[in-house]
Symmetry: D2
Subunit: 339 residues, 4 copies
Amino acid sequence: MIITLKKGAKRKEVESVIDKIKNLGYKPHVSKGKDVTIIGMIGEYAEKYKDSFEAMDAVEHISEIQKPYKLASREFKKENTIVKINRNVEVGGKQIHVMAGPCAVETKEILFNTAKTVKASGATILRGGAFKPRSSPYAFQGLGEKGLKYMEAAGEKFHMPTVSEAMTVEEVTLLSKYCDVIQIGARNIQNYDLLKAAGKQAKPVLLKRGMATTIKELLLSAEYILSQGNYNVMLCERGIRTFEDSTRFTLDLNAVPVLKKLTHLPIILDPSHGIGIREHVGTMAKACIAAGADGLIIEVHPNPEEALSDGPQSLLPDQFATLMKELDLIAKAVGRELL
Amino acid sequence: MIITLKKGAKRKEVESVIDKIKNLGYKPHVSKGKDVTIIGMIGEYAEKYKDSFEAMDAVEHISEIQKPYKLASREFKKENTIVKINRNVEVGGKQIHVMAGPCAVETKEILFNTAKTVKASGATILRGGAFKPRSSPYAFQGLGEKGLKYMEAAGEKFHMPTVSEAMTVEEVTLLSKYCDVIQIGARNIQNYDLLKAAGKQAKPVLLKRGMATTIKELLLSAEYILSQGNYNVMLCERGIRTFEDSTRFTLDLNAVPVLKKLTHLPIILDPSHGIGIREHVGTMAKACIAAGADGLIIEVHPNPEEALSDGPQSLLPDQFATLMKELDLIAKAVGRELL
Amino acid sequence: MIITLKKGAKRKEVESVIDKIKNLGYKPHVSKGKDVTIIGMIGEYAEKYKDSFEAMDAVEHISEIQKPYKLASREFKKENTIVKINRNVEVGGKQIHVMAGPCAVETKEILFNTAKTVKASGATILRGGAFKPRSSPYAFQGLGEKGLKYMEAAGEKFHMPTVSEAMTVEEVTLLSKYCDVIQIGARNIQNYDLLKAAGKQAKPVLLKRGMATTIKELLLSAEYILSQGNYNVMLCERGIRTFEDSTRFTLDLNAVPVLKKLTHLPIILDPSHGIGIREHVGTMAKACIAAGADGLIIEVHPNPEEALSDGPQSLLPDQFATLMKELDLIAKAVGRELL
Amino acid sequence: MIITLKKGAKRKEVESVIDKIKNLGYKPHVSKGKDVTIIGMIGEYAEKYKDSFEAMDAVEHISEIQKPYKLASREFKKENTIVKINRNVEVGGKQIHVMAGPCAVETKEILFNTAKTVKASGATILRGGAFKPRSSPYAFQGLGEKGLKYMEAAGEKFHMPTVSEAMTVEEVTLLSKYCDVIQIGARNIQNYDLLKAAGKQAKPVLLKRGMATTIKELLLSAEYILSQGNYNVMLCERGIRTFEDSTRFTLDLNAVPVLKKLTHLPIILDPSHGIGIREHVGTMAKACIAAGADGLIIEVHPNPEEALSDGPQSLLPDQFATLMKELDLIAKAVGRELL
């Protein structure tokens, strides 16, 4: 990192910064200008000490040079990571995968109907929530383990791997038993015990960016999982919170090329939450593919008016079927495959 | 609009709201619940009086029903507006148009070189700034009228209509003489005298959304131009300001389908400013087309390291040429044409 | 809630909305304008069904009338809640309380030194983290239970109740044994199992707003705790994430009067995180008191340069001592007491 | 500025950066680490060339060391600037000044009534808009020059200097004739011709921060005025746009101590716009004083329900009178004076 000292920093202050760098086992690179002295402190994990230098009165500003994450970085691993999921699904290669299904598992019938139809349309992974994070304590909170059993049965019947969300360490254990991919939701992006638990089991993880998480923080949260030994992590952009109130969130498509540059992990996009308006989900799904997404996660419900959550952004099965054909055209236009 | 009264509003207070509605010439629709009274006030321009009802103590909340803009709305005009530009360029139809060129006009040579090359790659409109809005008073501020003359000459030589930015009423007059499209920049999105001046002349206008402008406010600013009689307005999304600092702005692609629904005006996207990083501009340009853009505006410079502004986000001519072919594939995949 | 139908909604569509309201056991209030039909659905928990109406094609917009939280609302309880903490500390009355101490418990010596000095300056509650949420997996993560034992010992020795953060359900149990107030941090504002766990034990809870949490969501998260039977909840504003990058966060002081109006719970402010720059913490602390804070939480460290976290925003003991006298003057100017 | 090169930058690339620095007349400070090379380029206006270095492929990141503004900085002028306004009003010293009056000048009677009452309560400057920037072209746009004449007459009658907003260069000329302080509004913060016009005349300027303007950009806009020779500039924080929608804007009080550190110019706060809700304006006004404001600008209207703009946030004269006494207590508590 580069430490810029305040104008007029005294000699003694400059020396105390230099001494501190040496004491930590690094070599200081001092560059004295007419007014300003800058000191480089470069080496593995130097950024870890940023706070303690910033707390020194003589320090004006510190800029980080090295990335604070390692295992998640392109520097660490040049080739794209291919995440291998049960039933021979591989995410991160030429094939783009679409995860589809209802927001929440409500009944076995709805789930099976939806699974059948999204499978027929080309979805390769079945999504459905059994444990639902809801802003209000009075809203439907999911079927729990019963929902997971339905997911497992639907996956079995329609030959699709399944993805569902875990909100607690216990739910991670349950999910690793019943499901094929464990989703960590946007609200839990900095729930570090949960991240560690996801890192200590073997199933692939779908990690969703929080609504105010920077790209750097998203990669640091991924690092929590990777550093526990689980390298099968997919990152998911699902909309950030901004001043614009005509959409539910602002889908940050800029994040796709930026992440592709910084990390080797596959990038999944969630246009359903990212815009939150049914009639616009398809348009944004197309933009996601064009931006380089390795996969999409889309909410589909046979009867959105009766859905217990996220009805306004769920596609009807027919809309989804049409969309998949349109998405395939975009995929081919960017040298990928979808159907 | 719908006026919700506070719980426990007194009879007298309710009546004073009702009287006010009647005095303004509207018919109140009163709906009394057990706890809450709500009063509808529906009719042309009712929303104009929102503030004066909100200022009443008995009023809890007002929600707008009707859009505060009219001429810009889909309700007013169902079919897409085709903006006709000199040299037979039409924006808003099946053909997607790319406006390309240097951020600022610097020298005649650079401009002509760039024009020649972007024309060859398929750009149909030449962009270049003669009056540059710069955050710092010490930065290069543009060549002024001389720059406009170069633009006119380049347009003539390469048979391309031109677009350039006006920051003052006087510059609108100058531009309407030398250029084919007048750009109102993001910083001037609520400079109402400038908007009116653009509305009083005949050349088409490219109106850029401000970095903290809501979609509703963007359409209200367009309404300023339309209400002066100039209906040839193109709206441009160019990135909004959010907490994310790894990109220059956050390109709000959600805005494309939302705007397409609300307005008949063509939508142009600016991926150069929207992400601000050269190597990612192309990827975002693809996403823009997939999201339904009617056109793009892209910065190209033969030698970005020497550019007097926006070098970091300018494409090299070769990069632009390759990109245009890739964009054409996406355009076709969404049923449009580009090359 | 008020349901506005789309212009031109068909009679059949209008009736299906009305039927749905009746089937849910509510009485519809229909108001037909020339162009637009609006339907009121008012009654306890009507807002719970918002999503399922929004998912109907004929629905243009829904505005909520009733608050989605109940126990946390002023409507439910008019008088300010006084939260009673061990050692006879009461938060929410005339007396303003200052919680002070190091960000993290590092060593017994530093903690005891800090406790002694902040107590002498007038702080009434000792803060210190034993479990630290850190963006990076490679940063210091806290002393764990050993840190809690130090906190308990320091509280005993200096006769101060203590507050520390829990990030997991297990940590809630540990903290309810060793500490007097359980803090739920900003990153866990929507970690619902954690909120429920905090609601099921008896110690008071300090609930920090997340960096992108709306005021409504903050109150819904509080509702999770209250609905489990624990009414001793203090809300804490600690800065939200905005585009401004010259400060760590943007302290949202607007939230103080807005929350005071909506809820009976005490409001605590955290100027240390809210601005993140040591030399400005004191100024913001003054503004917090003037805005109506019931308490403050401030980081103090005898040697910030050596602090393992948050050194840049920690006050020195001398600065804290001076500040407390200044804060007392502001407290008196707004009719409160501090020292 | 500090230029960090990409890992693995080639020798030739490093040299081309060094040569460019030399060619621009600066001395490069090179510091080679094991992986990374950093180059310092320090000297007056070095930051001006940031873009052209960022456009080089070998450059990873540039951090600015020197501030891009000069005349507005504390480095340039250590002592606080005291802005001298007609009728012996001085802003920036111990005395805190309150500018009060209606949002817009509507009739002579309302203006005079309001002026009389705010003067009696202790306001020292009369505010009132003659040219009103309105989001909608269909809303009341102000009385124009007639309004200015009323302002001049009211100032004369009640011995108060006046402040009013200019939106065009022509209006600056008009205002400098009729009024004592020229306000540049939030929407025009980067309307550079307007800033220059304000800098070329002699009356003091009240420059309002835009809703998405960073503190650095605010100071750069001030620099536009100062660099034309007018040093009598007051900066005004009036709320920024964030995700929080329970208030009109988020008043950024952090900006007060940060600005006080960076600049010598007086800081005015606008709690009326900053929160936008009448019953909370007073509370926020107190917080403003505690945070170190040199002055406030507050909207007062004898009959807010009939106000043609900003009724919901205008105080009644009685509320204003009570508030002024309360503010005086806070002012004294921070060593200032108000009444």
